[in-house]
Symmetry: C2
Subunit: 206 residues, 2 copies
Amino acid sequence: MGIAERKEREKEEMRELILQAASHVFLARGFEKTSIRNIADRIEYSPATIYLYFKDKNEIMYELHKGGFEKMLQEFIPLRSIMDPFARLVEMGHHYIKFAIENKELYDLMFLMEAPMETLACKEGGWDEGEKTIDMLIRLVQECRDAGYFKKETDHQTAALTIWSYVHGLVTIYLKNRMQVFEDGDDLERMQKSYVLFIEMIRSGI
Amino acid sequence: MGIAERKEREKEEMRELILQAASHVFLARGFEKTSIRNIADRIEYSPATIYLYFKDKNEIMYELHKGGFEKMLQEFIPLRSIMDPFARLVEMGHHYIKFAIENKELYDLMFLMEAPMETLACKEGGWDEGEKTIDMLIRLVQECRDAGYFKKETDHQTAALTIWSYVHGLVTIYLKNRMQVFEDGDDLERMQKSYVLFIEMIRSGI
DNA sequence: ATTGTTTAATAAACACTGTTCATTATATTT
DNA sequence: AAATATAATGAACAGTGTTTATTAAACAAT
């Protein structure tokens, strides 16, 4: 029964081809402005063909959002070489902010857009990608406490949510063009200064 | 020349009528899913008529976003009766979070969507609404420092951005359904706990 | 090799979207 | 009452996501 297997493989290859094209067009034109027809054009297939491989546009979005988390976790790998947990936390924040700035569209898809969450709601199980990432942060907070940085009574989940909220808020203000409230000066520099302040805050406050 | 004035008044009334209808449909169906035709239907006019009063859909969004800021600043008025600046800051955060939760769509429009910012870019001048709000926060931070709460060397703008980032991030995670990363429990309670922690952090850390 | 059957791909359509423009209806002025 | 200016619209354009009936290709059984 080699044929069934080959078909399976070909189906997977086609899915991959579509996702690759989708990713390319999305990153080039932005998510909102990309249509199924754009994606179909790029791989020289009919728009209807895409619906043989994906339920709807949201499912493509969901799949790309998954890819975004893979990419992000990849970029977190070098953190493992940092021994001190607090230094690792600081560096993780840096990498998170850097990832958001360098992958605006992807970050939007991962943490702001509704599309992937809607597909998730139709599926069984939870938001594995998000959970995996926040778990990393929670464990890191735990390590920091164990190493004597944070107060013993602090709840890890609460601390993780607080830290995540801050970095997510910071990059979202930037990505969504709301740094305009500060009239002049360099946005990135201002973010840098804020991050330094926040780090000092959690060093002494959590 | 009473006619010209009446015409002017009628034009303004029509704009208001359209905005009112737009607001109603937007709030009921969500911003993304509302069309010019939906708005036109509600006021029993042709879709083309709307374009006699607004340049495009973005301009309607921009106008509604302005209304959102007015509403928010209205809700900040009671804060003035709080004498202690730090207590006022805490309460401002509370109100900010409350406003976001009770006006999800509006908050989205004010701080996340691109539409109003695109109209802004075509206009001269800056983002007055945003500036006014962040200025409130900056001045409040300044008051706190003067009252001996924060460190003397802390930059007000940096501190304000840091605080805003946190609350904005927190509500955005919630509004965009990303609280799912925490498996069980009440989202609002978790946010409450995080906010308490954050307040303690800035009390001792800024 | 020639059937019959399953699978893959598509063209065309449906019901939408924002937006424009020539045409019609109304209101104002002469 | 006729001429003009203003307001409102129907119809169209180019686009969207998605579905379906039809065609083309690949496979299975004879």
